[in-house]
């Protein structure tokens, strides 16, 4: 009897677990932004040749396939060629793909192609880079990134580690890039006059190229005997340049930037010899694509659109407080992955190893 009771109890527990599992499974399978209408979706990159894009592409695919109504997922890489990017957009629409998520690297040059696809009745969602135009007229929805928010996050952290003020060196990508300009607006909205920007206005140009970053940092280290904090919007490009401080007999200063496995591992290796090397990172924002995919899928399948309209990159690492995360390093995995991304590190490794 006791045995039977135990058996019944076990069966009930298993049945309950299965039922609960099914519910969770069903919930995971059909997010609210996923409607019932069957559709195909394509992700179009203006330039797909770096690890950030590969992780982002894999993230976009993972997000789209969360919705069982998506029957097909396609991808095209413009390879940095505006003509090819334009023809990719048109070709995908001509092939009968129902929804397109586009990274319009070429900016406004992409708008006519995007508009013509939208006018033909397709769902098209540009994200991250503005192509001009308006939602409802030229495209379904633009999912931008709140770079000012990144600047504010960095600024607030700088205030916490340097409350008396100090010298800030801000380095960004190509000259005049809107991401860097927006981040600077965010930084200045938080920091007072006691924080002095020692770089040429608006930022030191590095093109996000590690060799140029190294040259720029060499000149800045020689010129400025006091650099209290470096702000950079692409942390991994600094990995080769930061040891220059050691060569000059100085400690690496505090660094507010975006995350990357190679940067986390550099901090882990050298922070004990560099007492001033505090690290604060925001997410490198691979998950921006997920929000764009959600908007596109919601529009094409008849799901509920997400509440967020702009992607706000979350804070990721803080070596001082350990919140929300202490500095992360996975030495067993490639340096070119981003542990802040929702995509699992193992999946990212697969993505960046694909040729």
């Amino acid at each position: 009897m006791k045995f039977l009771d135990k058996q019944n109890l076990a069966l009930t527990a298993v049945a309950t677990a299965i039922a609960l599992g099914c519910c969770n499974f069903a919930q995971a399978e059909t997010p609210s932004w996923c409607g019932p209408k069957k559709a195909s979706i394509a992700l179009l990159d203006g330039y797909g040749g770096n690890s950030w894009r590969q992780v982002t592409t894999a993230s976009g695919k993972e997000e789209a396939l969360k919705c069982p109504s998506i029957t097909k997922y396609e991808y095209a890489d413009g390879q940095g060629d505006t003509q090819k990017s334009i023809s990719d957009v048109k070709a995908m629409a001509a092939k009968g793909v129902d929804a397109l998520v586009v990274f319009p690297d070429a900016g406004q040059a992409m708008l006519p192609a995007i508009t013509s696809v939208f006018k033909s009745g397709k769902v098209i969602v540009p994200y991250r880079v503005e192509a001009g135009g308006q939602a409802g007229t030229n495209y379904t929805k633009f999912v931008g990134t709140d770079f000012k928010n990144d600047g504010q996050n960095w600024g607030n952290w700088i205030k916490s580690v340097l409350p008396q003020g100090g010298n800030i060196l801000f380095v960004s990508g190509p000259a005049g890039n809107s991401q860097g300009l927006d981040e600077l607006v965010g930084l200045k909205s938080v920091l007072g006059p006691e924080y002095k920007f020692i770089n040429p206005e608006p930022f030191d140009v590095t093109n996000w190229d590690p060799a140029l970053t190294q040259k720029v940092l060499t000149a800045e280290i020689a010129k400025n005997s006091k650099i209290d904090v470096i702000v950079s919007d692409f942390g991994p490009s600094l990995v080769g340049a930061l040891p220059l401080f050691k060569q000059s007999g100085r400690s690496i200063p505090a660094l507010a930037t975006s995350d990357g496995n190679s940067l986390g591992c550099l901090w882990t290796d050298v922070h004990q010899d560099n007492p001033d090397f505090k690290l604060f990172t925001v997410s490198t924002e691979n998950d921006n694509v997920r929000l764009a995919v959600q908007w596109a899928v919601a529009a094409v399948t008849g799901g509920t659109p997400p509440t967020e309209e702009t992607f706000k990159g979350p804070v990721f690492e803080n070596s001082v407080t350990g919140a929300p995360h202490p500095v992360q390093c996975r030495k067993d995995l490639p340096g070119q992955i981003y542990l802040s991304a929702e995509l699992s590190p193992e999946e990212q490794t697969k993505a960046v190893s694909t040729k």
């Binding site: 770096n50 000149a219 340096g335």
Partner: protein, 335 residues
């Protein structure tokens, strides 16, 4: 053709007029460099501090090595646009094949050298045997090399092996190792060009291929080998670049193409071919690198930095053009 003949006759005549123990090209580039150092000392002394030089000289060494490669091709009246692809391919082979494993670095270096020889042969055969325009042929080979870069890397950067980072990035006797490599490349190229019979033939062919063919020199072979040796030098630069920048991109060679031509011109070598000036080319590399460090140290905007470099290049070309005109005038006087 007329221009190359004038170029040949200008050399000895210039020597007779001024009796300089060194070439005028060398004097020009040295004076320009000393003047730049003076300007740096006055307006941006930080750009000449030990720390700044230690950080920037490895990049000058890279420009010098690719400049020497470009010099060999320019001496044959050619132009090598496949430099960017050659350097980038060496970078990705030396970082992707070993995948961080030092034991695999040596085979990777051998693979990079083999690829460089093949690329050089492709350039050389197209230009010297099939008589294709050098710019067209090397653009085509550059596209092939970038195809190989994508095949190896998928466009994704990889972290350098610790061994390569140490070989290229460390210092010996307080001097960055990359400078020793540049010095070795300079010695080999200078000795070959100036002290070997093959080098003398090489310069004579570059100055006047028709006359060289008439006296029985193997013009096509020398032209072909110029492209092969150039690719080997680009390969060396690529390997060093992979070590100096810890996480190089797959397109790292792009930024070296313009400086490579600039230092050849600033060094006084005529773009029409003929006599080459390896030492002047290497000094011009230091000049060009120091100029960009000066612009960075002064803190001028990025647009002004680019303009300053372009003006320096224009100045280099202008200086040699003016001298050439004076020679022409003097040449006609005795007649």
């Amino acid at each position: 053709m007329n221009a190359t003949s004038n170029q040949m006759s200008a050399g000895p005549l210039a020597g007779q007029t001024f009796h300089l123990p060194v070439s005028r090209e060398f004097v020009t580039v040295v004076i320009s460099t000393i003047a730049l150092i003076g300007v740096c000392l006055l307006f941006a002394p930080s750009s000449l501090s030990y720390g700044a030089l230690e950080g920037s000289l490895p990049f000058a060494a890279l420009i010098a090595i690719v400049g020497l490669g470009q010099l060999l091709v320019v001496q044959q009246g050619g132009f090598d646009l496949s430099l960017a692809g050659g350097v980038s391919l060496a970078v990705v082979i030396s970082t992707h094949y070993p995948q961080g494993n030092n034991a695999l670095l040596f085979p990777a270096v051998l693979m990079a050298i083999a690829c460089a020889i093949m690329a050089g042969l492709a350039n050389g055969i197209l230009v010297s045997l099939f008589r294709l325009n050098a710019i067209v042929a090397t653009i085509g080979v550059n596209a092939l090399l970038y195809g190989a870069v994508f095949a190896v890397s998928g466009g994704v950067p990889k972290t350098t092996t610790t061994l390569l980072a140490a070989i290229a990035g460390n210092r010996t006797l307080g001097i960055p190792n990359s400078l020793y490599f540049a010095l070795a490349a300079l010695l080999v190229v200078s000795f070959f060009l100036k002290k070997s019979a093959a080098g003398r033939r090489f310069e004579a062919i570059g100055a006047n291929p028709l006359a060289a063919r008439a006296v029985g020199l193997r013009v096509q072979l020398h032209q072909l080998l110029a492209y092969v040796f150039a690719q080997l030098l680009y390969c060396l630069a690529g390997l060093l670049l992979a070590g100096i920048t810890r996480e190089p991109t797959a397109f790292q060679g792009d930024s070296l193409l313009l400086p490579s031509v600039a230092v050849v011109v600033l060094g006084g070598t005529s773009l029409l071919g003929g006599r080459g000036f390896p030492i002047s080319t290497v000094i011009a590399s230091f000049f060009l690198n120091q100029l960009s460090q000066f612009a960075l140290a002064v803190g001028v905007p990025y647009s002004a930095q680019t303009i300053i470099q372009a003006l320096a290049l224009g100045f280099g070309i202008g200086v040699y053009s003016v001298r050439w005109t004076i020679n022409m005038t003097r040449q006609t006087e005795p007649v």
